[in-house]
């Protein structure tokens, strides 16, 4: 809990005193604040203090300590205090007579004085909450401890819980009251036993009745009595260590009394696929170097976030390769020209094999990098620098050095590249490309007639020069997610539930996949289905087998 607990005592000679204080010191923030988001505060505190009353002024350690008796002390001055560390959270609970953090010294002093000499509690024993924004907020519980030598045979104490979070402190009232009562009860019971013992040995009432009252002697007598410490009143040698444990526990328990279950959105399919591939790779790797003990590369940790970026070509190290590159889809489109780009994109979206052939691996790799953004991660299967042709089922992106052919594939030949041009200034100058299709012409024509809805929208975004590259890529992300959601529905409908054609047509209509470009849309949806994560697919299958009784947890 973002608070401190202190035991205070109203010393008959010295007034209200802080005896023992347990603070929680939190570890440095797990995540720094964002730049520009200043934490409120850090005002001139001296100025704020201006209006404090006389009784509140006594916040310097000097005046207080100059005037101290055993009753005002907990740990001897040389005692370094206690610490307990919560290994799980890194929070350290520190106990001393006074708070270690200087800015809290006067806060605690104030709380102590108010608790024992300003605020009025009916019956003098019990809980009060008080406070303000300047001095912090205090939950205080006052109580008496029996002392056979004290005036009225008792001494007055309080336990204060100080926090800046007014609302949480008030929210915690029932909890704090319940537990502090127990702590207080325990102290009182123990002191009562000591008191009873002492009274048996030497009944003080009788002593006092019999001793003659002398105004001259009285103060001196009393000053002698005032020096009893709480340790002596309870005959508990480890009292302060125990109180430290109690207070630390209280701070921890009160701070974690309520927890919230806050949900995030489910990971996207792209993230799931990346995780699955990563796991597969690691399994492979651990299979490879299983002999080494495999301790160095554990499973991807829960806290490690996956960046869906360059996963596919992580062995390529594009930056190392010199020469011209495609920087974005828009760039590629500018180089190829709108029509050729449209054809290329169409083949990519439909899952047809796209073969790039040329001598510049860096260029081809950059082309694949921008093109794969058109597809869900699960749909991308790329083979780079293959010396021979690979079948379409193995890869939809293929970089070749030799000519080859396939029925449903598109070949892009990179013919003339200005080599050594490290710093391509003008996009149009970089390269001229020649491409040819191993497809029949009519199929290509179809692309120009309507095309899948997704492609049309992408082209609008790409052709609008007002939109920055970032906007375009977010726009593409939106479109892909939108269509992945349609893919999920179609998968559920056709593959999981196995519905008939008529129903499927209805679903396509409600998904907005019908109308112009319907055939392409359906093709795209079917291809994209192959990109769904295993996790997702198996979840839907299990749900069905379980009679739609989802095994959610």
């Amino acid at each position: 809990m973002n608070a401190l607990v202190a035991l205070c005592h109203f010393c008959e000679l010295h007034g209200p005193r802080t005896l023992f204080c347990t603070e929680a010191v939190h570890p440095p923030s797990p995540s720094p604040p964002q730049p520009g988001s200043a934490i409120p505060g850090d005002r001139d505190r001296e100025a704020d203090r201006e209006g404090e009353g006389l009784t509140m002024r006594a916040n310097s350690s000097a005046t207080q300590r100059a005037d101290m008796c055993e009753g005002c002390r907990s740990l001897p001055a040389s005692h370094p205090g206690f610490v307990s560390v919560d290994s799980e959270t890194g929070i350290r609970y520190l106990s001393h007579q006074h708070p270690r953090q200087p800015q809290l010294f006067s806060v605690v002093r104030q709380a102590c004085v108010r608790s024992l000499s300003c605020e009025v509690c009916p019956g003098r024993e019990g809980p009060i909450f008080f406070g303000d924004e300047q001095h912090g907020f205090v939950f205080s519980h006052t109580f008496f401890i029996k002392d056979s030598l004290a005036r009225g045979f008792q001494r007055w104490y309080s336990i204060v819980v100080v926090a800046m979070d007014r609302i949480y402190l008030i929210n915690s009232w029932p909890f704090l009251l319940r537990h502090l009562r127990q702590t207080i009860q325990s102290l009182q019971d123990t002191a009562l036993k000591v008191f009873d013992n002492e009274q048996c040995v030497c009944p003080q009432r009788a002593v006092r009745m019999n001793s003659a009252f002398s105004p001259a002697v009285f103060p001196h007598q009393r000053s002698g009595n005032a020096a009893r410490s709480l340790t002596s009143l309870t005959q508990h040698p480890n009292l302060w260590a125990s109180l430290h444990s109690s207070f630390s526990w209280l701070l921890k328990a009160c701070g974690s009394r309520l927890t919230e279950k806050l949900l995030e959105g489910a990971p996207t399919e792209d993230t799931l696929v990346l995780i699955e591939r990563q796991t597969e790779q690691e399994e492979e790797r651990s299979g490879w170097d299983g002999a080494e003990g495999g301790g160095s590369n554990p499973q991807p940790s829960q806290s490690e976030s996956v960046q869906p970026k360059d996963f596919q070509f992580d062995d390529g190290r594009q930056e190392d390769l010199l020469g011209p590159k495609f920087k974005s889809l828009r760039h590629l489109r500018q180089v190829l020209g709108a029509n050729d780009f449209r054809q290329l994109a169409w083949h990519v979206l439909m899952g047809n094999q796209v073969i790039w052939r040329g001598a510049d691996p860096g260029l081809i790799q950059s082309a694949f990098n921008v093109l794969k953004a058109l597809l869900p991660v699960g749909c991308v299967r790329a083979v780079l620098y293959s010396p021979h042709y690979e079948e379409a089922y193995r890869c939809n992106f293929l970089a070749l050095t030799h000519v080859s052919s396939s029925e449903f594939s598109m070949l892009v030949d990179v013919l003339n590249v200005e080599r050594g041009c490290v710093n391509p200034v003008s996009d149009d100058d970089i390269l001229s490309l020649y491409h040819e299709f191993f497809l029949n012409v009519s199929f290509s024509w179809f692309v120009f007639l309507s095309g899948p809805t997704l492609l049309n929208k992408i082209e609008v975004a790409l052709s609008n020069e007002n939109l920055s590259v970032e906007v375009v890529s977010l726009c593409l992300l939106c479109l892909k997610e939108e269509w992945m959601n349609k893919v999920k529905v179609l998968f559920k409908f056709s593959k999981v539930d196995g519905r008939g054609k008529e129903d499927t047509q209805k679903v396509l209509a409600l998904l907005g996949a019908t109308g112009p470009g319907e055939e392409d849309n359906v093709r795209l949806l079917k291809f994209w289905m192959t990109g769904l994560s295993k996790l997702y697919k198996s979840h839907l299958m299990t749900a069905v087998r379980g009679g739609e009784r989802t095994l959610s947890q």
Binding site: T55, F130, A241, S245, S248, L258, T268, T271, S305, N485
Partner: protein, 850 residues
């Protein structure tokens, strides 16, 4: 299916009767009332007290002393307890702090809770001490009790402010913090974004934990300067006069006699305190106004009458609000919270939810009622956004289940914040920037229709679910309970049980030193144990000297023995010995202690230091020596001497250099259970008898009452947000199921054409297609579980769209709506929604669109 915890708890309290109609199966039985017993309005008492330097304390109002306002004698003898209550409100020592002070007292018999706010007063320049007129009237009345008529002659109208001086009394309530507080609202810089899904939730919580951190010390926040205005003039007050008078407003609530009811009410009261406080602030404003208004009345008895009337009216409203807050029916199974907490019933819940939604869709099909309503709700109750922001973490259990935020979880553990506060902000949708808070009221004569709407909305108005971790029942009584500090003594005299001793070869050394250090302590196993840790610590914190320390330790022992004698008992003798010998070691350390130039002198002393013993231990010894010297010296004189001051400062300085004894944190045995007293359960209301200002969602039968109170209520929300942070705007969505209209009322625009409450909501095309496609899937008999998953996917699409919009707006000076439509698929009707969503992750969006 298994009845849920809440069903079990509240099954007997269900409001209305379940008529078994299968079609309307759900709604009627899904609402419950919070309280288990009647709550009497007279249980709430109001006292207004004044503490004046010159005149002492006066009761300015006590609802217990007032019977009926229309009676000839509205007030009776002051209640017997007012003096005591006055003491409690103001304290026995007057505080000169000029801000407002909050106090809560528990009175044992009769059991009562008292909440007080003590304010400094603010006068206008021309009306110094002008409350005196009212006060005089009161004084004279109580003096001349029972007949008050004679008092009129005594009252002194000379102090009256000149009438007509400031007729516009309504706008004069002084506010100190509205503008500055808004400026103080932290606005994270644009361009910063988290990779994790719950960025905005995390950010909000992190800032809260920092803003309320004790480690930063007191940080006066936005509402510190709240005062009690005794004048409607806005001129600045003379600071010298501020402190002369304090006014306390106290609400005293009689607690139920029965233990269980008492417990329940207290749990409710303390967990919902921000709401109670907000209403107290409203009450305070009304009392302020009553005092200002009545001062314009010359005739004394009439003045008092007006004052009493106004205050009683305000109290009546307060009582009603509290009663409503406690007694009003609630949605017992809010869809969202139930889904995330009861996974076994998920399918059933999904089915029920979709069924209700499709029924409502059919009902308001022509007017697009549901689409308009959801557009408004998704725009303003923004807590759904973090729940669809994709997680970057692999799912733990099931593929499609939303994961709990890991980062927020970690934050809560290491930097605790108040989960109840977080929840309240979620429900009011206070996630955007600038902070706006929203509530939704569903109006309609047809109860079951209103309840259906409420039920559906309880899926879209989201918040986190709370769990409570408490000690198991039996554990509290266990003597080994960590809250029981004397346990080890009472149950088992051997402390080894608590701190198992570790074998340590250095033990004898430590023992001797400890005896010397701590004459109070009885030599025992526990003490030894502590010192073991001490020595280990010294070693571990000073790795460079670890070798040294092990070699010098015998020297230490020697010194200890030399100083204090073999038995270590005669501390005084040891000290004398040291003082007489003036050992070089001591000499050095005296130089060392507390000097800010310590490091400079390190060079000189270094040789000794390294040759001597471990620094930490060394110091502690000498610290102790000094203290004991002082003690011996000062024991004769009661006053102590002047050196003490210096030394004690040194002590404090020293304390920051020392290393504490480490003790294990007591084991933390807790039992976890679903929290009952939280806002997710309490602020999603049912079909209520009247408008409920606190509820994030509820239904009422007619908007007649709304028109009267809504505007002032929204204004109050902005001035005194229960959320405890500055709020820029308060909104209310009013959905009328009779007229099938949806309007948004805002605190910012007072006038709406044609006497209407607010603006009509433009249906977002994205929301419309979202609902239709989900319901069409449902109509095609696709599993409802899947339909709900699809709904979540579509909500996630909205989030992605808002990201594009935010990116588009970055650096844009003009927004081309057509361009948005063509390129991003965002139509003008979607812009308010997407901009609101964008403001949760990209705060700059609001600034651009303003």
């Amino acid at each position: 299916s298994m009845p849920t915890l809440l069903q079990k708890l509240f099954s007997k309290r269900a409001v209305g009767n379940d008529n078994g109609n299968a079609r309307d199966l759900t709604c009627v039985s899904l609402f419950f009332s919070w309280a288990s017993s009647e709550f009497d309005l007279a249980q709430i008492r109001l006292i207004v007290y004044q503490d004046c330097e010159r005149r002492g304390r006066q009761v300015l109002f006590d609802s217990k002393a007032i019977h009926k306002l229309d009676a000839s004698e509205p007030y009776t003898r002051p209640a017997s307890d007012v003096n005591m209550l006055g003491e409690m409100m103001f304290g026995s020592v007057s505080m000169s702090y000029k801000g407002s002070t909050l106090k809560i007292h528990h009175i044992r018999s009769p059991p009562q809770l008292m909440v007080s706010k003590v304010f400094s007063t603010r006068f206008g320049s021309s009306t110094s001490g002008s409350t005196n007129t009212l006060q005089d009237s009161f004084e004279s009345m109580s003096q001349t009790f029972p007949s008050h008529t004679s008092s009129i002659a005594h009252s002194n109208p000379v102090d009256m402010p000149s009438r007509g001086h400031s007729e516009d009394g309504d706008s004069g309530i002084a506010r100190s913090a509205s503008l500055s507080s808004l400026l103080a609202t932290p606005l994270p810089s644009p361009g910063s974004s988290f990779s994790s899904g719950c960025a905005s939730s995390y950010q909000r919580r992190w800032l809260r934990s920092q803003a309320t951190s004790l480690q930063h010390g007191p940080m006066p926040r936005w509402n510190t300067e709240e005062m009690f205005s005794l004048s409607d003039e806005s001129c600045s007050s003379n600071p010298a006069m501020i402190r002369r008078k304090k006014i306390a407003i106290s609400i005293i609530i009689s607690l139920p006699e029965r233990e269980e009811e008492n417990h329940n009410f207290q749990e409710f009261f303390f967990s919902h305190f921000p709401l109670f406080e907000s209403h107290m602030n409203k009450l305070k404003t009304a009392i302020e106004r009553a005092m200002i208004v009545c001062r314009r009345i010359a005739e004394s008895s009439q003045r008092v009458q007006v004052y009493l009337c106004r205050v009683m009216e305000a109290l009546g409203e307060f009582r009603m609000t509290v009663w409503n807050l406690y007694m009003a029916p609630r949605i017992s199974e809010p869809v969202w919270l139930s889904m995330i907490s009861q996974s076994t019933e998920r399918n059933l819940l999904c089915q029920r939810f979709l069924k209700e939604m499709s029924l409502l869709m059919d009902h308001g099909a022509k007017s697009q009622f549901l689409s308009a309503l959801l557009t408004a709700v998704l725009t303003h109750h923004l807590a759904w956004v973090p729940t669809v922001m994709p997680s970057s973490l692999p799912p733990i259990k099931t593929a499609c289940q939303k994961p709990a935020s890991h980062t927020v979880d970690l934050l809560a553990k290491s930097h605790p914040y108040n989960p109840l506060w977080a929840q309240l902000g979620d429900l009011y949708g206070a996630l955007g920037s600038p902070v706006r808070v929203c509530r939704t009221v569903v109006v309609g004569r047809r109860r079951e229709l209103v309840q259906r709407v409420l039920y559906i909305l309880s899926y879209f108005i989201r918040c986190s679910d709370l769990q409570e971790h408490v000690q198991p029942q039996g554990q509290m009584e266990n003597p080994d309970n960590p809250t029981n500090p004397c346990s080890s003594q009472t149950t088992d005299p051997t402390p080894e049980k608590t701190f198992p001793p570790k074998p340590d070869p250095l033990k004898p050394t430590a023992c001797v030193i400890e005896k010397a250090l701590n004459p109070e302590s009885v030599p025992g196993t526990f003490v030894e144990q502590n010192n073991d840790t001490l020595l280990t610590d010294t070693k571990s914190t000073n790795p460079s000297s670890s070798l040294e320390s092990s070699t010098v330790r015998p020297e230490c022992t020697e010194m200890g023995q030399e100083c204090f004698g073999e038995d270590g008992d005669s501390v005084g003798g040891g000290l004398e010995h040291i003082l007489a010998n003036q050992s070089p070691l001591l000499h050095r350390v005296q130089f060392h202690i507390g000097s800010p130039r310590e490091t400079e002198n390190e060079g000189q002393a270094g040789g000794l230091s390294r040759a001597g013993c471990g620094r930490g231990l060394d110091r502690k010894l000498h610290q102790r020596l000094l203290t004991d010297i002082r003690r011996n010296e000062s024991s004769d004189s009661a006053l102590g001497d002047s050196d003490d001051e210096e030394t004690s400062l040194q002590e404090l300085y020293m304390a920051t250099e020392q290393k504490e004894y480490e003790l294990p944190l007591p084991s933390y045995q807790v039992e976890s259970r679903a929290s009952v007293n939280h806002f997710g359960r309490s602020l999603l209301g049912g079909y209520c008898p009247q408008y409920m200002p606190d509820f994030a969602l509820h239904g009422i039968s007619s908007d007649l009452g709304l028109k009267q109170c809504l505007m002032s209520d929204l204004e109050h929300t902005v001035l005194h947000p229960a959320l405890d942070e500055p709020v820029a705007e308060a909104l209310c969505i009013v959905a009328d199921t009779d007229r099938l209209s949806v309007q948004v009322v805002t605190s910012q625009r007072r006038v709406c054409e044609g006497g209407r409450l607010g603006r009509d909501v433009m249906v977002s095309n994205l929301v419309y297609t979202l609902i239709t496609s989900v319901l069409q899937l449902y109509a095609l008999n696709i599993a409802s579980d899947f339909c709900v998953m699809h709904l979540e996917d579509r909500l996630q699409e909205l989030y992605f769209k808002s990201r594009s919009l935010a990116e588009y707006l970055r650096g844009q000076t003009r927004v081309h709506v057509k361009e948005l439509g063509l390129a991003l698929g965002i139509e003008s009707s979607d812009i308010p929604l997407l901009a609101a969503v964008a403001s949760t992750h990209s705060p700059y969006v609001a600034q651009i669109l303003l």
